[in-house]
Chain length 376, copies 2
Amino acid sequence: MEVAPIGAQARTLPDPRQVPSKGVIPVMRARGLVLTAPGHLALQEFDLRPPDPGEVRIRVAGCGLCHTDISFYSGAVKTRHRLPLVLGHEIAGTVVEAPPPHADLLGKDVVVPAVIPCDTCDLCRAGHANACLSQIMPGNHADGGFATDIVVPGRHLAVLGSDRGGYDLAELAVIADAVTTPYQALERAGAKAGDLVIVIGVGGIGTYGVQIALARGARVAAIDIDAAKLERLAQFKPDWTFNVRETDGSAIKKKLMAESAVSTSRWKILEMSGTAPGQELAWSLLVPAATLGVIGFTMDKPQIRLSNLMALDATAFGSWGCSPTLYPAVLDLVFSGRVTLRPFIERRPIAEGPELFARLTGAHEGAARRTILIPK
Amino acid sequence: MEVAPIGAQARTLPDPRQVPSKGVIPVMRARGLVLTAPGHLALQEFDLRPPDPGEVRIRVAGCGLCHTDISFYSGAVKTRHRLPLVLGHEIAGTVVEAPPPHADLLGKDVVVPAVIPCDTCDLCRAGHANACLSQIMPGNHADGGFATDIVVPGRHLAVLGSDRGGYDLAELAVIADAVTTPYQALERAGAKAGDLVIVIGVGGIGTYGVQIALARGARVAAIDIDAAKLERLAQFKPDWTFNVRETDGSAIKKKLMAESAVSTSRWKILEMSGTAPGQELAWSLLVPAATLGVIGFTMDKPQIRLSNLMALDATAFGSWGCSPTLYPAVLDLVFSGRVTLRPFIERRPIAEGPELFARLTGAHEGAARRTILIPK
């Protein structure tokens, strides 16, 4: 099969069975998880065009499987690029083809930012790279990383040195979204030492949200419906954990008010479950001059009194991805051991992808560990 | 009847029919609109205690009637202080009793801020005076300004000089909420020259929101369901007006995208109708990196996809009242003629208050002009 090539606009590629002649772009065959229609994902060979100037080809070491991929798979959220499309946006790998101006990247191990801004649009120039109008998110705007190879822009790649905190390259794939997304959200919330950070949903990204908040010296409350997910956070010593199967927003707020002694203007409530009940819980925790961040995504509409923002002079923000400029700080947190990946990840061969997607779709709770699919 | 005295905590007042003896606090008789139960408002005499140190007594020149007063009257929103209570929080008047440390205020004409912060709580010290935990809003936390006299804190009163732009004192009552509240919201939104400011609901506060945004050099779109309200704004030359009885959010967004040429990160969408449909419209206008302000209040819960904040990397804030520190800038806008009050206000004798409250309750559209009740 031939999937649409990378880039916002589809182009016609030559038939690879023809002998390339002068002037015809040579293509290579890659192998990856191709979504042809909602619910239809298969490991297939596909044509991969060579990198244009400004782009590089990366041999993928591993690609993390995110809740968003499941939403694309099920059809709950449409990909920006039409199907068929290779999914996957949490990518680590090695640059194996690097035309100018990125020849210096050849052979380098890199993490590919999940959202790659264009640097030139109005929003990029206004300091809103996150909302870049021409952003490329692999596996959404273009073919993604559940594949042997991927062609991506060479700009903004996070180049790895020799100190990797004991992690191997594939494991670092989860930096590109699972770890950087909560980092950006905590930056955006202005979370600092002495603040109260409340993380709702300690799954794929929330586990890192809790660790990053603790690394910043905040007091942290972790909330989930899954006792096992709360228990495995115990090693990081969050100040409070709450299982909302056993308590509710009103009791949580009361307890945090009584015990935290943190001024309400320093409450940062971060919704990372991507569910309407999680968003309703977040809203119920609003206090005067507090900040609420929406980091998880759901198409569902929660039942919330929007006017509470006014009555409490409060702020709600949404945070999309992470600016590539913040990746070095995130890598430093991971390599220095202040943020730990290993209890929260597992590797599986890419061939297990289709079965794994099917299993996770419609599951009430996410996977216990984030799966990194290995294409080799 | 004896209403609860001003201040967050009720105190026992002496029976005014007794001859005051040494050590007994003398009280005076005032006259005002007392809400005894939802829907029960009457012009009555009541006991008014003398000002404590730090407070002053003001002879009220006029008090504006706000949508919030109607919500208190109907019972849709409860007052913070128990009933019975004198309503009214848009007050202009003359200081007639001023014990130390505010003796210098005696005889001064003033506007009373609708929300008076304490200056000492955590939130005040953290720069969030709007959300002050011990704030006093007359007619909500304490007896209000639909009365001949009121006792309020002497701090933060906006003292008027001789240049009043041709307005008389009673007319300036609407500064305290109707004009300052949208000013604070535009400050909070960071609205500046060249931004696109979209005001939804050009009633009591929205009319001023439009004028203030234009005075700041923003491009302005005014939206309402009332053609007459939109027409009377024509003299101020907003860039666009939309009647949502004739169009919808999708068409408005498309038109503003095509015609404004303002980067979406500079869109400031300000909901001032205080209705769920207005909030849903505001939400539908969200664009990448935009800012949405909730300034009107409703207990209703709109149907909104909260996650759009995340997908668009956008911000929503609520703005409550206005910091007294901003009142001088607002007075300057009004006295210099850049913001015009007169087409939007009318005076009525306070005796007409009960009938007016009853008429406005449940009305689908607010009053064409904001009524200033005159106690004399």
